[in-house]
């Protein structure tokens, strides 16, 4: 996270590969399900045995015996509808909710977050010298309308995606933050409005961050959890 600062985001999970290395973020939307981006995974149909979701700690490399850490194997993955770039990860056992592990709310289906709403992104990704790489960093970002955002991206941002961030250089998501949440505070609750996806570069001037617009896919998310 470029330009972020250490913070608390109990629904942000660290995805670990079979070597136990953090490679992407995710958001806990139910005790058994995490949402992340498909780009972090090699395939929707191969084995993901050995992959784990870690939660309950803000440290990137907690001690092996950290009593707060929950490391839960991923037992199944489900890829989102065409063009969504989303993936849902089913946990082998339910996460235990407590002060350090909590669920993030899902937005109403089709809801468009108003422009200038201040939201936050969270992750253990690279800080490129702007902060502490070993802890969870959080950055506040204002939502930008797609119309305005497309002026910077030559109309390449579709309605299934959304933008947030400033036009100044030096703040935004970066490598290994991908898959993590863009959370907005609505009705006294934090709501998962976006999922961080890779852009071109980190914290570049005149390039706001691009996110999957979760509200477009809420019906799919609920169906996956229900079926």
């Amino acid at each position: 996270m470029i330009g972020g600062r250490p913070g608390n985001s109990p629904w942000t999970v660290s995805l670990r590969n079979r070597e136990g290395t953090h490679f992407c973020g995710g958001s806990l939307v139910s005790r058994n399900w995490i949402i992340s981006t498909k780009q972090c995974f090699s395939s929707c149909y191969t084995e993901h045995r050995g992959y784990e979701a870690w939660m309950g700690t803000v440290l990137k490399n907690p001690m092996p015996n950290d009593p707060e850490k929950q490391a839960i194997p991923i037992q199944n993955v489900v890829c989102g509808p065409k063009g969504s770039n989303l993936i849902m990860l089913e946990l082998e056992r339910p996460a235990t909710l407590n002060a350090r592990v909590a669920l993030i709310c899902l937005p109403p289906q089709g809801y468009i977050v108003p422009e200038a709403t201040t939201c936050e992104i969270a992750g253990w990704g690279e800080t490129q010298g702007t902060g502490d790489d070993n802890v969870l960093n959080i950055l506040s970002v204002p939502v930008m309308s797609n119309k305005k955002c497309n002026q910077h991206y030559r109309s390449h941002v579709p309605e299934t995606e959304m933008c947030a961030g400033t036009l100044e250089r030096g703040a935004g998501a970066c490598e290994r933050d991908y898959g993590g949440p863009l959370a907005c505070f609505t009705h006294e609750c934090w709501v998962l409005e976006g999922v961080i996806i890779p852009g071109r570069g980190c914290g570049r001037a005149r390039q706001p961050g691009i996110f999957v617009r979760v509200a477009v896919f809420v019906d799919w998310i609920k169906k996956v959890m229900a079926l």
């Binding site: 913070g7 608390n8 985001s9 109990p10 629904w11 590969n17 079979r18 070597e19 490679f23 992407c24 939307v29 498909k38 780009q39 972090c40 995974f41 090699s42 395939s43 929707c44 149909y45 191969t46 084995e47 045995r49 050995g50 509808p81 065409k82 002060a99 909590a102 669920l103 993030i104 709310c105 899902l106 937005p107 109403p108 289906q109 089709g110 809801y111 690279e126 490129q128 010298g129 490598e175 290994r176 991908y178 959370a183 006294e188 609750c189 934090w190 709501v191 890779p198 852009g199 071109r200 570069g201 980190c202 570049r204 477009v216 896919f217 809420v218 019906d219 799919w220 169906k223 079926l227």
Partner: protein, 461 residues
Amino acid sequence: QRSSLNDYHRSKGVRLQGPTDWPQEEPFSEEECASQCTRILQCRAFNYNLQSKQCKLLYWTSREQGTQRHRHNHIDLYEKKDYMQECIMDRGFAYRGRVSKTKSGKLCQKWTSSVPHEHRNTPADFPEKGLDLNYCRNPDNHENGPWCYTTDWNTRLEDCGIARCDQDVCLLCNGEDYNGFVDRTESGRECQRWDLSYPHSHKYQPEKYAEKNLDDNYCRNPDGSLRPWCYTVDPNVEREYCNIRKCAGQHKLKELEITKPCFKHNGVGYRGTVAQTSASNTCQRWDQQHPHAHEFTPENYPCKGLDENYCRNPDGSEAPWCFTTDEGIRTAFCFQLQRCDDDIEPEDCYTGNGTKYRGFVSKTRKGIPCQRWNSNTPHQPRVTPTTHPNAGLRENYCRNPDGDSHGPWCYTTNPKVQWDYCAIRTCEGHAKPTNKEDPELVTFDSCGRREDREISNKKSR
């Protein structure tokens, strides 16, 4: 610290049934069971029940006629390696394979027979030498390896020319596909079984790395090392490379699909020319050692396309990556690379959200055939012709009984994929309707709340 299981080939979840049964099952650990089977000459294998901890010795291996392998959740089959391999270690004294012809093609004489050649190597006199039927054996530990008396009156005996295990299967590239039987390191140390965590505890458990063939204690290359290796049974030497012959000629990875503008799976076959990471760091050339020294050189990894400074995936990571020219960032992923679309060509189209679609497409966007709506296998459906009588749930045709805004779908015949969208697109000129929920009606109960530690700290101060 070698395990007695080192002499056995494990088949997980398999129960072997032979023509005759061993008298009884006994409660033992797997290793005690292996030791007991090793001590008894007639024992060639054993079934181990992980639930009851019972051990059943067997007179047979699954290679013998009259035996049957059955799937069983709680039983593993262990078979003596000597009976499973058609290559030899050392001089092949322990060889118990089934070759019964000499290197010139002469049929072997049965060890029990004295015609055409009389001899003293009979199974009755030397039961420990495995002189079965007319199979090649090396009862005198001859330096040329297993041999037999031949059925040719003019040739008393001849070598069988059985290959050594380290020569039998050769290495392609850096041996990531190697699935041969060498179980010794280049210094001669015996390998530790991958499914054991002593004397060295390690992360390469076979269950976690199902595609890496981490069988028994054979040399393997699960981490993209220079060549196959293993953990050793020597507590002082954690891991060593194995000495296995390299194949001659052009090396290339088996079954690797090369892609250029985009990448598939985890991008091992990506050969495009992007040379920047997703964080916009410039990649370091693979043939250079500055600013980061490394072993991923084009010479060490001839099959991985390590050209120039392009994003590549030589070690089977999640996606193509590279060393960066930034001293402070050793490696970074190139997640911004496009993934190749792996959906199949849509075969039909639908209007609206497809609830009225009554066409005949019956496969998913990935080409998996649909499960019939009235079937309970492999998935137990919640949506059936009974629950949705007006949704046209006939045969296994794609339908949209629940008004899914992403179009028609079906349960799939793949046990691992419960349901998926179908190989159907929206018809030309018809946009997908967008479903909207009234935000005012949405209530959040227990989600989205957190304890703001910073604020509570301030309060306590």
